[in-house]
Symmetry: C2
Subunit: 98 residues, 2 copies
């Protein structure tokens, strides 16, 4: 899959490479209408709250970026995860046999 | 930004190019621990529900893919949006002056 290969090729090569990370990306392609309100920036906090159900997130470790070009809008949320995992994640995973 | 350029370069060139689309991607890089349960597949429905607060989503227009290589796990949700936008989106956007 080309998309996964893109991310493999863009992994950090410094000391940062040893850190667990989570990246959330939302891309809206408004090819048809080219209009309508841009709700991507509004999604930001909602997405973080959803992920927080599964893993601990320190607000200081969240970096958000928005970008827009042509008819594409993009929201990118980069989260540095703690090396240990919270009880929420273990419980949720256990509930589904993970 | 390289990431947005990647998506611009991968836009469909067929008749499908005229459709509005939303792509959600979650990439987890488990460089540090290389272990811990994989909660990405669990995120899928949560993410769709969050987006549904802002725009109409037809369940038939949602395609989900998961992939894993090295220490990277990826969840990709592709949604084809209707050409018109729902009242939720207009109301939310109006509330924030969008």
């Amino acid at each position: 899959m080309r998309l996964l290969e893109f991310f493999i090729g863009n992994r950090p090569r410094s000391a940062d490479a040893a850190k667990d990370r989570l990246k959330l990306i939302v891309v809206r392609d408004r090819a048809a209408t080219g209009e309508g309100p841009d709700f991507l920036p509004l999604l930001q906090q909602d997405l973080i709250e959803v992920v927080r159900r599964y893993v601990e997130i320190d607000d200081d470790k969240v970096v958000v970026d928005v970008d827009k070009r042509d008819n594409l809008s993009m929201l990118e949320v980069n989260i540095e995860l703690p090396g240990h995992f919270g009880h929420q994640e273990r419980e949720r995973a256990a509930a589904v046999g993970g």
